[in-house]
């Protein structure tokens, strides 16, 4: 962990990690009890990636998210209430309930949207970077995607475009070793996705995705480079999803031993220990942060429950922006 870790940083990070963890665990329960319909892709285990990456970003920088996107939205400063309400399909959700778990955005905090199509967001994030470049806004885009998405054609086309045009974008691959049930070794011809960077002449780095500050440092380097006009980077975060792919996954494709080994690297107890060790917070303070984060989750559930479903007429509204053209 970074040696010059400030107490404020650590607390904020701990809050976010716990918020995301708590949020996802809460969502799983709500899916099980039928309060939330459809499916969900829990981010549990991968929190350090979203939190670390967003730590390296300005508020006006952008992120593009995936199907496993609640963590990205919360890490970028999204509102747990509106996020939870969206999962419930409520009118107060980010998309008024129309998007659901895989399809929501919060432009106000720089979150340009999650995406139900594996690899679908990669070119879109690339285009946002083009927009930042053309407008000279100084913004940088972080595009999150999984190891599975790295085998889609859009990955290749987008990274080539970004490198060619020196776009201010950082491709953050969350290599959690599986795409649904498919192990990386059964889907990707090489072990380290970061090595694909050389096919586009951009830097490619591997980083411990269970370590917030390692992720933040790597992303910061890439963001600085991008902001300086020196083009894109590919960062591969080695991480693990502690739970199944989605609500129904029995995880037949991997061993409980493998899971335990990764769980031993859980970023949350790790950060708690470091904070105590370095005197960045007392046990009581850590408990308070934890309680505060979990309380935010509870309020979000409450908010979502109490919110109304959209009115029937919402069905046919909002397909188009009216009154232009």
């Amino acid at each position: 962990m970074k040696s010059d870790l400030a107490a404020g940083d650590a607390r904020r990070v701990l809050y976010q990690l716990v918020l995301i963890r708590g949020f996802e665990e809460s969502v799983l329960k709500l899916v099980s009890d039928g309060s939330i319909r459809g499916t969900t892709h829990p981010y549990v285990g991968q929190e350090a990636v979203a939190v670390g990456a967003c730590l390296a970003l300005r508020a006006d920088d952008w992120v593009i998210s995936t199907h496993r996107g609640h963590g990205h939205l919360l890490a970028k400063g999204g509102d747990p209430n509106r996020l939870m309400a969206e999962l419930f399909g409520k009118a107060t959700g980010y998309g008024g309930g129309k998007g659901g778990t895989q399809h929501m955005a919060d432009f106000a905090v720089g979150h340009l949207g999650s995406n139900g199509i594996t690899g679908g967001g990669i070119p879109i994030g690339t285009g946002a970077a083009l927009s930042a470049q053309m407008r000279g806004s100084g913004q940088v885009v972080v595009v999150f995607f999984g190891d599975g998405a790295a085998n889609q054609g859009t990955f290749h086309e987008s990274l080539n475009l970004a490198a060619l045009w020196h776009l201010p974008v950082v491709y953050v691959c969350e290599n959690n070793l599986y795409a649904m049930s498919t192990a990386v070794r059964d889907a990707c011809a090489i072990e380290h996705i970061a090595e694909r960077a050389s096919a586009y002449g951009m830097p490619g780095v591997q980083v411990d995705g269970m370590n917030v500050f390692a992720v933040a440092a790597a992303v910061r380097t890439a963001v600085d480079r991008a902001r300086a006009g020196r083009g894109p980077s590919l960062i591969e975060c080695k991480t693990y999803r502690f739970l199944g792919h989605s609500k129904s996954d029995q995880r037949v494709y991997r061993s409980r031993d493998e899971e335990s080994a990764w769980r031993a690297r859980d970023p949350i107890p790790r950060l708690r220990a470091t904070m105590l060790e370095r005197g960045l917070a007392s046990a009581a303070e850590i408990d308070a942060i934890t309680r505060e984060a979990l309380a935010a989750v509870e309020s979000a559930v409450e908010f979502a429950r109490l919110s109304p479903f959209p009115e029937a007429q919402a069905l046919t509204e909002g397909v188009f922006v009216e009154g232009t053209g």
Binding site: G38, G97, G100, I117, T182, V252
Partner: protein, 327 residues
């Protein structure tokens, strides 16, 4: 011998029988091995046929379909599973510009015995990118056949036929049908592609539909019967080539046509059916044609909105009653 099978079991039986009979048949797709596919159709096949023939792929829809085409034109009979129909968008070029056209362009030296199976439909709160019914696009791709079974028997029979067919066939399955069951004959032959079925005879109105909505239309017909309206229910079964004759014969008898589908209305399958009837059975029509379909919107996630979006038995009943009152 008749057994009770679910729709997914019937599909799997077609796969198993084809693979047992013909060593060139194999399956490709994402998570179709130990995981059994997103909807379980291939569960158990890996153990029985091995990883060469139950071939788990990376997430690369274009290359999966493209590679299947390459295998098909060189003597294999690949069956591709696209996990959700929404993702055929990524394989659209390979399907429309290659699979469907090679035979016409290259001549008789080439055959493309390719099957692409994919689940369509909503009703499970999966949101706009995991709920679509996009089959209408493929009616507009000459060179492609499209089947859309509504029952376990048809699922087995049409998938078997698709695998035997030397042309590319898109097999549109429905998420809400996988768990439904019915009796399926163990030794039924493959069903002919291109033939609709009259699921219920009636004289007042023709309900033309396919896939999941056959069941809904039958329920509506039941309810209409109570009110003295005899609805005929046509299950198209194959969408391309469309069995125009069966539809026309029905409309000639009933004089009224209601097309029912789950996909969005504009440019849907019902448009084509309606157009054919308005061309070829105009003289027999006693009332305007009606289409019942989803609204022209992306499928909303919010459960009450999704329910409001998808056509229902009540929608059908209301539309038919309104039509009958015009007479």
């Amino acid at each position: 011998m008749m057994r009770e099978l679910t729709y997914w079991q019937a599909l799997q039986e077609a796969l198993r029988e084809a693979m047992t009979r013909d060593p060139t048949v194999f399956v490709m797709g994402e998570d179709i091995g130990e995981y059994g596919g997103a909807f379980g159709v291939t569960r158990g096949l890996l153990a029985d046929f091995g990883p060469q023939r139950i071939r788990c792929t990376p997430i690369s829809e274009a290359a999966i379909v493209g590679a299947a085409i390459g295998a098909a034109i060189t003597g294999m009979r690949p069956v591709v599973e696209i996990m959700f129909m929404d993702f055929v968008t990524l394989a659209m070029d390979q399907l429309a510009n290659h699979a469907a056209k090679l035979r016409y362009m290259y001549g008789p030296q080439v055959r493309v015995p390719l099957v692409v199976r994919t689940p369509a439909g909503g009703g499970r709160c999966y949101g706009a990118t995991h709920s679509q019914s996009l089959e209408a696009w493929f009616l507009h791709v000459p060179g492609l056949k499209v089947v859309a079974p509504a029952t376990p028997t048809d699922a087995k029979g049409l998938l078997a036929a698709a695998i035997l067919d030397d042309n590319p066939v898109l097999c549109v399955e429905h998420k809400l049908l996988y768990a439904t069951s019915g009796t399926v004959s163990a030794d039924a032959p493959a069903l002919p592609i291109g033939r609709a079925a009259v699921r219920r005879a009636g004289t007042d109105v023709s309900l033309v539909t396919y896939s999941y909505y056959v069941g809904v239309a039958l329920e509506a017909a039941e309810q209409l019967a109570i009110g003295g309206i005899a609805a005929e229910v046509i299950d198209l079964r194959t969408l391309a080539p469309l069995d125009t004759e069966t539809v026309l014969a029905s409309v000639r008898k009933t004089g009224r046509l209601v097309c029912i589908e789950e996909g969005t209305r504009t440019g849907g399958v019902g448009a084509e059916v309606a157009a054919r009837v308005a061309e070829l059975a105009y003289e027999y029509l006693d009332a305007p044609i009606r289409r019942i379909a989803a609204a022209d919107v992306p499928v909303p996630f919010s459960p009450p909105l999704e329910q409001a979006d998808l056509p229902t038995r009540e929608d059908i009943v209301l539309v038919v009653r309104e039509l009958m009152e015009r007479a």
